[in-house]
């Protein structure tokens, strides 16, 4: 692939503005029970059916840390090549809201469980390393429902106390495209690890986006604004674009940016102020006296590390090295653990080169069209391998294979069954093919003459006619051989 140059700037008559972005991603931890209680974390339950006395902050209730959530956070930290802090502290973040039953959220403030790390992105202009500042564990709040009644707000505490990982990036991102790639990469890593399902529709992954701008070449960071709670990658891109342009406009008119928290209005495609710095909450963080500092043994971390699955970057390197894939192809295949698994299943019994093309081109087109993920592919890895083998063995041509594939998509059938039933098997008997070739040439003696007198372009015409006469089943290689021989006569 030819390398492009990075070129995302807000260009005005006067200046080129660089956009600086940092992300705070909130990722819901995959765990059956909540961070500090035994309640279920299942999505979509009837309101207030997954709420314990701890989650609803009844008098005298105490939090007890869920060890599995700690493991999940450490695993994620390891996946981000980050430092695991053997001592971390849970703090209370105090504020009043109806869906925050205790009046404080248990979070980690000064001593998070995971420290600095990094994520590598593959951009069209090369790899880009994005720094991770920290990852900490915290409780999610409940949900306030304002639209059920004109006079009342309803509160659903099912989500209250569910474990979240807040993953804070350094301000290393420079374009909506990089943000897109970063969030997808985080999601891939966490899905590989099984620590977050990354399901943005259900809110398991959402982000606060920090945006500032500065003139190209400047070193000092500009004043940033934080766009709260953006819940899709597309909206993140839109919000950044619109916010950066807003800031540039303000700065170019000679005014200053106010540090503030903003909301993204997806309908109007613009951000608007939620609260200024002066109105910012004073969260009065202090260590939660109900929980002792969290101490982890190095051996505990080592053990998790030892049992970590292969991560996307490692898998990509292996695919490139072992299967001679391009960086692009490897990226596409490792972007989803289920895809890479599918790919590896297919190539267990079939040709790698054909397999990668069939998956990346044909299968993805079908999945995209039908809006399916690979786990629900109508074509099983086993059947695709069979199809590929039919091509490699010469049983069917690539062209026929496409027909077969279409039928496989529609029926889910085994390709050999389709080939047999539809009589699509390639015609590879030289005697039969010779007959067909002769018939075609006899019918077109004028063109044969023209060919012989130098109009070599007609070769393709003959092949086409032969294929047509064989209903597309003629073995192209043999047709070639015979045709060449016949034309030389």
């Amino acid at each position: 692939m030819s390398k492009e140059k990075f070129n995302y700037f807000i260009k005005t008559e006067k200046n080129n503005w660089e956009v600086i972005i940092g992300l705070e991603v909130h990722a819901q931890v995959i765990s059956n029970s909540k961070l500090f209680s035994g309640s279920s974390t299942k999505f979509g339950g009837q309101p207030n059916t997954q709420v314990s006395l701890v989650d609803s902050a009844f008098p005298g209730m105490l939090p007890v840390i869920n060890k599995y959530c700690i493991e999940q956070a450490i695993k994620t930290g390891l996946g981000l090549n980050a430092k695991i802090n053997l001592l971390s502290i849970f703090d209370r973040k105090n504020y009043f809201y109806a869906d925050l039953p205790a009046g404080y959220q248990i979070s980690q403030y000064k001593n998070p469980i995971v420290g600095e790390g990094s994520v590598t992105l593959d951009m069209p202009y090369g790899t880009k390393v994005v720094g991770i500042e920290r990852l900490h564990l915290e409780q999610d709040a409940g949900k306030s429902i304002h639209d059920l009644s004109p006079d009342n707000t309803y509160v659903d505490l099912n989500r209250s106390g569910v474990a979240l990982m807040e993953i804070v990036s350094k301000p290393d991102l420079r374009s909506p495209e990089e943000v897109n790639s970063y969030v997808k990469k985080l999601r891939t890593i966490m899905r590989y690890l099984g620590t977050c399902d990354g399901n943005m529709q259900e809110g398991s992954l959402r982000a606060d986006v920090n945006v500032s701008v500065r003139k190209k070449g400047e070193k000092k960071l500009g004043t940033r604004c934080e766009i709260k709670n953006v819940n899709s990658i597309r909206f993140m891109e839109m919000a950044i674009e619109s916010e950066a342009n807003r800031q540039v406009e303000i700065l170019e008119s000679g005014k200053k940016i106010d540090q503030e928290t903003r909301l993204f209005d997806t309908k109007k495609n613009e951000t608007r102020s939620m609260r200024s710095k002066e109105e910012a909450h004073d969260y009065r963080y202090f260590p939660d006296p109900d929980l002792l500092p969290l101490e982890i043994e190095q051996s505990f971390v080592d053990n998790l590390k030892k049992n970590l699955p292969e991560l996307p970057d490692q898998k990509k390197d292996r695919f490139i090295k072992d299967f001679k894939l391009s960086s692009y192809e490897a990226n596409v295949l490792v972007s989803d653990n289920n895809i890479s698994q599918y790919f590896e299943d297919v190539i267990k019994n079939s040709d790698i080169k054909l397999a990668k093309n069939w998956i990346i081109v044909e299968l993805f087109a079908v999945l995209n069209k039908k809006n399916l993920d690979i786990k629900n592919s109508p074509v099983s890895s086993n059947n695709l391998a069979k199809l590929i083998n039919s091509i490699s063995s010469g049983e069917i041509s690539g062209k026929i294979a496409k027909q077969v594939f279409e039928l496989m998509v529609n029926t889910g059938d085994d390709p050999s069954k389709i080939i047999k039933e539809k009589g699509l098997k390639q015609q590879s008997d030289p005697n039969e093919l010779e007959k067909i070739v002769k018939i075609v040439l006899d019918k077109n003696t004028d063109k044969v003459q023209q060919f012989k007198s130098g109009k070599e372009k007609l070769y393709g015409f003959f092949v086409g006619e032969i294929m047509k006469a064989s209903s597309g089943k003629a073995n192209p290689k043999l047709v070639n051989d015979i045709l060449k021989k016949e034309l030389k006569k």
Binding site: L53, S56, A57, F58, P59, G60, M61, L62, P63, V64, I65, R92, N94, F96, Y97, A98, P101, A102, G103, Y104, T153, V155, D282, R284, Y285, F286, P289, D290, L291, L292
Partner: protein
């Protein structure tokens, strides 16, 4: 027939086990006492029907293999009791009925005890005189115009007046020991983490600890044995084996070393208290104990440290009382914020508001380092003082309070003088140590005075043994004429 008002819990347990008295007879005795003593305002809630039912159940199927067989017991209204109203002395929880039972009270019921009712206390245990309760102040049975101490004032008063043979309180800065001292009873604050905090309405989580209040040291050992347990529902609970404090109680303390901290000789301390302290020292000397002068240099910072740490935690712990989920909700206010303001404005009393404000202030950005963080550092120094001392001594002897019980209303307008009452008790909470207050005598007005023993973490047995030895020599006599009946 023995006078049940003048015998100990241990003796009552013996009578039950010897079938000299039934659980129902005991229950009826206490119900009668309670009904004749309403003047003292010890109870917020009684549940006599349930108590009688439970005592009959016990009598029908006697099980003597427990520590407190069929013994009716009233508890401070800070312990959540299943299906029985639990108010924490506050309007905001005036009608709160828990669906769950605190670990400590569950332990009591597991040992055969039966709930008599819920005892008055300062609102959210914030107070030293039981005058901050929404349900009115409690009167000390010693004298009709005296406070019983606080915050476990309902407990101390009910115990002294024999409305319950023993009780439990909670101690965040002295709330068990000071009322025990004011009423001539024994009160023990265990090592932080020995008793589970699960199901106790929280005041200051890093300081709160439940403990027994009894008529003598032996009862105290028995009750501590009953209520202490490791509880995995409380992350600060200590995972250790249960001890047989009562069985191992032993007066022989010969050869032990007791420290006398010079910092506890404060200005303006009544002479009688000083004399009593000396009396305690003499008794110990006679018992073959070596008295060692020690220094706890950071003692003078304990009170200000306490009044930063405790309100800070309280301000956060009490945020849940917002009218949204349970408890009192004001019907005034146009929006969520106004509902909060009105609910909390109407639901909390002055002392609670004062501490929530202090706590909010010391945690605010810009003040956190100067107050809360500094206080945490001082707290470590206070703990270190004790650690250093316990390398030299087995326990420390001090007075329990700088004065005897004061008059109702005497200090309500002056919070600082009220807070000064905790001066000898708060260092112990800050250091997470166990301490016991035992009655040692009376002042010239006939008001009881207590001595406090402080021991090292989880050294309750030794502390109880020393208290047991002092008790047997000091010949304290409670003189109650039951004037309220």
């Amino acid at each position: 027939m023995v006078d049940l008002n003048n015998i100990s819990l241990t003796e009552i347990v013996k009578l039950v086990k010897l079938k000299k008295i039934s659980s129902l007879e005991l229950t009826n005795h206490y119900i009668k006492n309670i009904e004749k003593g309403k003047k003292l305002n010890c109870f917020i809630t009684t549940c006599f029907d349930e108590t009688i039912k439970n005592s009959k159940t016990f009598d029908a199927k006697k099980n003597y293999d427990s520590l407190l067989p069929g013994i009716p017991i009233a508890v401070k209204d800070l312990f959540c009791t299943k299906d029985v109203k639990t108010t924490a002395g506050s309007k905001i929880l005036e009608n709160f009925i828990p669906t769950y039972e605190s670990t400590v009270t569950s332990n009591l019921w597991k040992e055969g005890a039966i709930l008599l009712g819920k005892l008055n206390c300062d609102e959210f245990a914030m107070g030293s005189s039981n005058e901050t309760s929404f349900f009115g102040n409690v009167i000390n049975p010693i004298e009709k115009n005296l406070v019983p101490g606080g915050s476990s004032g309902g407990s101390s008063s009910a115990l002294a007046a024999s409305f319950t043979p023993a009780t439990i309180g909670t101690d965040t800065g002295g709330s068990i020991r000071q009322p025990a001292s004011f009423t001539g009873t024994v009160g023990l604050k265990p090592t932080y983490g020995l008793c589970s905090r699960w199901g106790i309405v929280a005041f200051a989580s890093s300081l709160d600890q439940a403990g027994p209040m009894t008529k003598n040291v032996e009862d105290c050992a028995l009750m501590l044995e009953a209520i202490s347990s490791y509880d995995k529902k409380d992350s600060t609970s200590i995972n250790k084996k249960k001890e047989n404090y009562s069985k191992n109680l032993n007066k022989n303390i010969k050869g032990m070393k007791i420290g006398i901290p010079k910092e506890y000789r404060v200005d303006n301390m009544p002479k009688e208290i000083d004399q009593l302290w000396s009396k305690g020292i003499d008794i110990l000397k006679k018992s073959g104990v070596k008295i060692i002068d020690i220094s706890l240099p950071h003692t003078k910072y304990a009170l200000p440290t306490y009044y930063i740490v405790a309100p800070a935690e309280a301000s956060s712990n009490l945020a849940r009382y917002d009218g949204v989920k349970f408890g009192y909700r004001s019907n005034k206010g146009k929006n969520l914020l106004e509902m909060y303001e009105n609910t909390r404005g109407e639901g909390f009393g002055d002392e609670v508001k004062r501490r929530v404000l202090i706590g909010t202030y010391v945690l605010s950005s810009g003040y956190y380092d100067a107050y809360y963080l500094k206080a945490q550092k001082v707290r470590k120094l206070i703990k270190k003082d004790f650690d250093n001392s316990f390398r030299k001594v087995d326990a420390i002897l001090t007075p329990s309070t700088p004065s005897s019980a004061f008059k109702i209303g005497e200090k309500t307008s002056d919070p600082i003088s009220m807070y000064l009452n905790d001066i000898f008790t708060v260092p112990v909470n800050l250091a997470g140590l166990p301490a016991i207050s035992l009655p040692a005598g009376q002042d010239s007005k006939g008001r009881p005075l207590g001595l406090q023993l402080i021991s090292n973490s989880l050294d309750e047995q030794r502390m109880l043994n020393i208290a047991f030895a002092i008790e047997s020599e000091i010949s304290f006599k409670q003189n109650l004429n039951r004037w309220w009946e």
